[in-house]
Structures are given as C-alpha cells and as structure tokens.
C-alpha cells in the first residue's frame, strides 16, 4: 500500500506547524472565533456537545498495523481509551483538549496520517470500496485513484471555502460498496468499448434533509482526464452553488435547480480550459501510486483443516458464514470484524481491540486493515488456513460477533449522546434493537438486513439507504422516530419511503421487531431478503404490520 513520500511527510509537518500557530493566534486574539472555526474544521476539529471532537482521516479506509497501533496510543494518551469508527471511514476521538490537539496531529504525522479536510466546506476525505484490492469483482484497485484525488484536493487553493462540504467516493467494482450515488461526486470504474478503464462520473447525490440519488454527468471519462474534470466540476460549483442558504448549498441542489444539462455544459466548457494546464505529470505520479498499491504476494497453499474446524465448531462456522467475503485470490478470504457486538456502541473500539486487530493484520493479513463505511474493520487478505486462529484471537477481545450484514450490524450516528446537531438518541436505539434480536435468536433466520439510524435530519447514519431506516426527531421536546422502508445504498441506490407517523422512544424497538418478524411471514422463501420482499410487495403490507390498529380502523 501507499506510504508517504518526502513531499507528503513535509506537507503534513508544515500543516501541523500552521495549525499550532492558528491555535496560538486564536488565544492571542489575532483570529476571532468566527475566523478560527473554519481553520480548525479543515483540520478535523469540531466543537461537540460536551467537548472538542477530533476526526482523523483514514484515507480511503486503509490502515497498516503501525497506524492502527498509533490510533490506539492516541486513544490512551489523549482520550478515554477508545475511538469511534465512522460512516466515512474515519475515526473520531470524542474527548480531546484543544491544547493537546497539535500534539495529537504530530503523533499522527509520525505514522503518515492526518486530520486534514475531515470537516469544513472543503473537499472531504475521499472514500473507497472497503474491499478494494481484494474483491473478486473489481476492474482495478480504486485506492490509487483515491490517493491521487487526496493529493489533488489537499489544500487546493480554490476549494477551501466552498459553499458547503464536498464528498467524493470511488469504486473499482461492479457491486457498489462505496455508496457512490449518494456522494457529491461518485466515480464508478468502467471499461469503454476499446477495453480501457475509465470512470462513469456521477454528480449531485447526497442524503441529508433533501436526499437525492446522483445523476450521471459523463458516461465515460478517460482516467487521464480525472483531475481536470473533477476540478472543472468543483470550479463550476464554487461559483454557482448557493451561499444564501446552507440547506440549499450542496451541489445536489445546484444540479437540481440548474438542471443536469446546464451543469454538463458548464463543466465541459470549464474542463476544456483546465485540461490544458495538466502536462501529464499527474499520470506519472499515478503510475507510482498504482505500483505502491500492487497486490501483496499471495501464496498458494493448502487451506489446512479449515473445513474440518468449521464442521467441528458451530460458533466458528456461524462466524465464517456471516463475516467472510469472497476473495479474488485462491485460498483467501476477506474477513469483516464486527464492531457491532450486541448491546455495544456501533463503531466503538477500545485501544486493546485496536492493538489485537493490528497484530492480526501483521501476522495473518499481509499488513492491511480497512475501515468500512458500515463501521466495521476489515482484514482484506487472510488465508483460509489462518481463519481459525484469527477467530480465536478475536474472541478473546469480544470482536468475534457473527453478524455482518444482519439485523444487528446497524449503522448509527453518534446522536444526542455526543453530537451538537442531534435531535434524538441513536446509539441506545441501536443497542436495544441489537440486544432484542439477539434475545430472540432470529437474526440468522432473518438474513441480510440493513438497519440504519440517524439522530437528526442530516442523516449521518444513512437512514435513507437502509432497508429499514430510522430517523430520530424532536417533536415538542419528545424524541420521535420515523421509519423509512426500502432504501438501498448499492448500485441500485434507492431512497427509502416514509412508512407513516413516528414512534416514541419506547415504541420504536417493538415496532422494528413487529416489522421484521412480520416480514418472515411475508417472504416467499428463506432466500427472499427483506429488501426483495419489500420491492415485490410494496409498502402496504409492511405498513399494516407497523400500524395494526390504524389499519383496522380504516377497514371498519
């Protein structure tokens, strides 16, 4: 994987020095609070409900063991011994002190990491398929492109004060695990008729208070045109995006209000000028980055007693059934480590757990770790002969929950427990749902089900694209949870439909239980997932399950 060049290293050191100076200049009054705010945000520092929060970038979700151990050390030294993995493949520390932050950034710089542009009205940390480089259905590893975009967007002089934040996601595979259609720019690697790799460029997707599925701006963009084309898009947006209303400032609204054709015309026109400024040096750098992302040296060997162990140990078998994905190399598997133990906070990992995952990656995983947008940790390259040992080590630290893709593998935003914007709690709801399904022992029978919870309309929990989405709102001082149904964040992206009136904090978990057990009676057979059943049957039967009394009243 990519490691920092001298240029990258010098850049982050310089940036830490600048931020240290900005903190001092805030204290001596050179910078007002208003002026300091965007400067701290573009360095990942938020002011939350109880304290500052530092959001550290995990570029395209990729970490090496040394970096993971450093994240553990930071959690111990400057936080409360844990970190929170987020839906944007980042990690957040919830309890740092302002004066410690420059030292935390310095510690990150020691292992080639940073918190640059994880917030603010800038181009954010670029996200990518968490199975990149390991998935069987991939055209190319998208991380080289994501790294190129990271370099281009970092400290881009034109784009540090955009109308609003700007998120880019890349996938190299046919199956979209990066939610590309819900990003400001989504890049899907495709091949043209000549067999060359390039991109389908999607623009104007997003969740939040006005969810929109992204639209195709260009069917095929040659790889060599990527940076000037992205620069053209953001340049057009910087001038055209609304600055009068922050809720209408994202590019999805710019596209909606001006029309796709107008945007296409402006972008192509701007692209023609900007393209001339690129001499091809970016492609030379890309070639070096691609070489750095060359696959590890996979070995061909026996899978040992893997199958026998599976048969002998039902708990291990259950874990392999849910937590493994198909790897492109023979004899290997992609391991998803669930950070969703029933009843625990989704995405929270302790420093001890981080160290164990780092050790496992080093010993059995070709030195690679990934953070998924579903808030789990991935060991992308594990040989099947090592799976039993990996499983045993994970069990020791409570990381062996066999629930990937199931009802308790819930995405939840921090909600009112941490977030200043939240209007309701989301973590406790996720914990109660997971605990309840564990008690009922039916989640394996239910099968693939994505439940996503947001604690406010900004939708950090991606509820719009959950098969079951839950949105927590404040109704006259009381938490009220709205359910959306039929959402999907893959290549068939769909925004979920609102089921009906909201539920109180006491009602929401029983309502979800009713909905899911009700689905078991509706599905054609055990292979029909919740989403498939919803698409076949439509909203009505699910609505009747959710609101039984109301249904009777209508019938009367």
């Amino acid at each position: 994987m990519y490691t920092y060049t001298d240029f990258d290293e010098a850049f982050v050191r310089e940036r830490v020095a600048q931020f240290r100076g900005q903190v001092e200049r805030r204290i001596d009054g050179s910078l007002t609070e208003d002026e300091f705010k965007p400067l701290r945000l573009m360095n990942g520092l938020y002011l939350q409900l109880h304290a500052y929060m530092l959001r550290v970038a995990v570029p395209y979700g990729t970490l090496n063991p040394t970096q993971m151990r450093k994240l553990a050390d930071i959690a111990d030294r400057w936080d409360k011994g844990y970190g929170h993995f987020t839906t944007r493949q980042n990690i957040q520390y919830n309890w740092p002190k302002l004066q410690d932050v420059p030292d935390m950034l310095e510690a990150l710089a020691d292992v080639g990491m940073h918190a640059i542009q994880t917030s603010g009205n800038t181009i954010r940390n670029v996200t990518a398929d968490h199975f990149a480089g390991a998935a069987a259905d991939e055209i190319e590893d998208p991380r080289a492109i994501a790294e190129l975009l990271r370099q281009w967007s970092t400290d881009h002089p034109e784009f540090q004060f955009l109308p609003r934040k700007f998120k880019i996601a890349v996938t190299g595979a046919a199956h979209d695990r990066a939610v590309t259609k819900a990003h400001d720019i989504g890049l899907r690697m495709v091949r043209n008729d000549a067999g060359e790799a390039g991109f389908e460029v999607i623009v104007g997707g997003g969740l939040g208070r006005t969810p929109m599925v992204g639209k195709v701006l260009r069917n095929f963009l040659p790889k060599a045109d990527l940076l000037p084309y992205c620069e053209a898009i953001v340049s057009v947006y910087n001038l055209l995006g609304r600055r009068d209303n922050k809720y209408k400032a994202r590019i999805k609204i710019t596209v909606h209000e001006n029309g796709l054709e107008k945007i296409q015309e402006l972008v192509e026109d701007r692209f023609a000028t900007i393209r001339a400024g690129f001499s091809g040096h970016d492609q030379d750098l890309l070639a070096k980055i691609e070489a750095a992302f060359a696959p590890p040296a996979f070995v061909t060997k026996s899978i040992g007693g893997y199958e026998a162990t599976r048969l002998a140990n039902p708990a291990f078998r259950s874990w392999t059934d849910t937590n493994l994905a198909e790897h492109k190399a023979n004899g290997y598997a992609i391991v998803s480590i669930s950070i969703k133990k029933h009843g625990a906070t989704p995405g929270d990992a302790t420093s001890d757990q981080m160290r164990v995952m780092a050790d496992l990656a080093e010993t059995y995983g070709h030195g690679e770790l990934r953070i998924s947008h579903e808030q789990n940790v991935i060991l992308p390259h594990v040989h099947k002969s090592d799976l039993a040992k990996v499983y045993a080590a994970l069990r020791q630290v409570d990381l062996a929950t066999a629930n990937i893709g199931l009802a308790s593998d819930i995405i939840a935003c921090p909600g009112m427990d941490y977030c200043a914007l939240a209007t309701a709690r989301s973590i406790p709801i996720a914990q109660e749902i997971a605990t309840r399904f564990d008690e009922l022992e039916i989640e394996h029978e239910i099968g693939q089900l994505k439940i996503k919870i947001s604690g406010c309309i900004n939708a950090c929990g991606h509820h719009h694209v959950g098969h079951i989405g839950i949105l927590g709102l404040d109704r006259a001082g009381v938490e009220s949870y709205q359910i959306t149904l039929g959402g999907d964040g893959t290549e068939t992206t769909t925004i979920g439909e609102r089921a009906g009136r909201g539920f109180s904090a006491d009602e929401i978990v029983p309502a979800i239980e009713r909905l899911v057990t009700g689905y078991l009676g509706l599905r054609r057979d055990a292979d029909e997932t919740f989403l498939q059943a919803y698409r076949r049957l439509g909203k009505q039967p699910f609505k009747s399950i959710l609101y039984p009394a109301q249904d009777k009243a209508n019938a009367a």
């Binding site: 965007p38 002089p157 034109e158 955009l162 970016d282």
Partner: protein, 136 residues
C-alpha cells in the same frame, strides 16, 4: 488606510489610477483598475485580458468564489496585476497567491489584528504545493 500585502510584507497603496466597477468602464483616460464583486458571473470575465489591474472583492473570508475567479482570469491569459480585497485572512494568503493573485488589500483594523509577520509566515506559498506538483 488600506494596506497592501505581498510576499515581502506590508506596503502602502501604489496604484494611482483608481478603481471602477465593471459596469462603469468608460473613457480610456487612465488605465483604471477594475473592481469585481465576488458574485461576478464567469461570462463577465471575457474581455478583461488586457486590463492593467483587477481587484476582486472578498466580502467575507468564508466566500471562496474570488479564488476561482482569479484562477479563471489567469487561465484565460490575464497577465496584469490581480488583487484580493477585503476580508482575507493571513491564513488564506497562500491560497490567494496560488490561485493567481499578486497581492491582498486589507483595511487598517485587520492589519493591526494580523500584523505583517503573520502574512509573511505564508510567503513560502510555493512550497508544499500539491496542485503545482500534479500539474507538472
């Protein structure tokens, strides 16, 4: 009193022809500087290539449109003097220079709050520049 910031620090105004708004360009008795608002349409930049001085307004440091307007002027071949005027922070000096501005015009109050050393701290704007590196 306005202060003009360049890589060497603070200096007084030395542009003597004065400024007019884009809509008020009239008789050519002096090489006026042209004032552009931050919401100037990109189409209005056409034909400014030979101006002696263009000054782009930053009504707020959070309004980043001026950076893109500057970059567009430069890529269209504008070679004249280009100035960012208004609420620009010392922290934005490198962004301004990299986008194509030659200098920044700030008022006396801002110059007092953010003195010359804070601006000169970013006079190294040509270093650590990812975009220049990628363009080659």
């Amino acid at each position: 009193m306005s202060v003009i910031v360049t890589d060497t620090g603070f200096a007084p105004e030395d542009f003597t022809c004065g400024f007019v708004a884009l809509s008020d360009i009239a008789a050519n008795d002096c090489d006026y500087g042209i004032d552009l608002a931050s919401d100037t349409a990109p189409t209005a930049l056409v034909g400014l290539t030979n101006a002696a001085m263009i000054r782009i307004d930053f009504p707020s440091f959070a309004d980043g449109r001026g950076f893109t307007l500057a970059a567009m002027l430069r890529s269209a071949g504008y070679k004249g003097r280009l100035r960012a005027k208004g609420h620009v922070l010392a922290d934005q000096y490198a962004m301004a220079r990299r986008s194509g501005f030659d200098e920044v015009e700030i008022d006396g109050a801002l110059a007092a709050r953010q003195p010359a050393e804070q601006w000169k701290f970013r006079a190294d704007w040509q270093n650590h520049n990812y975009q220049a590196r990628l363009r080659g």
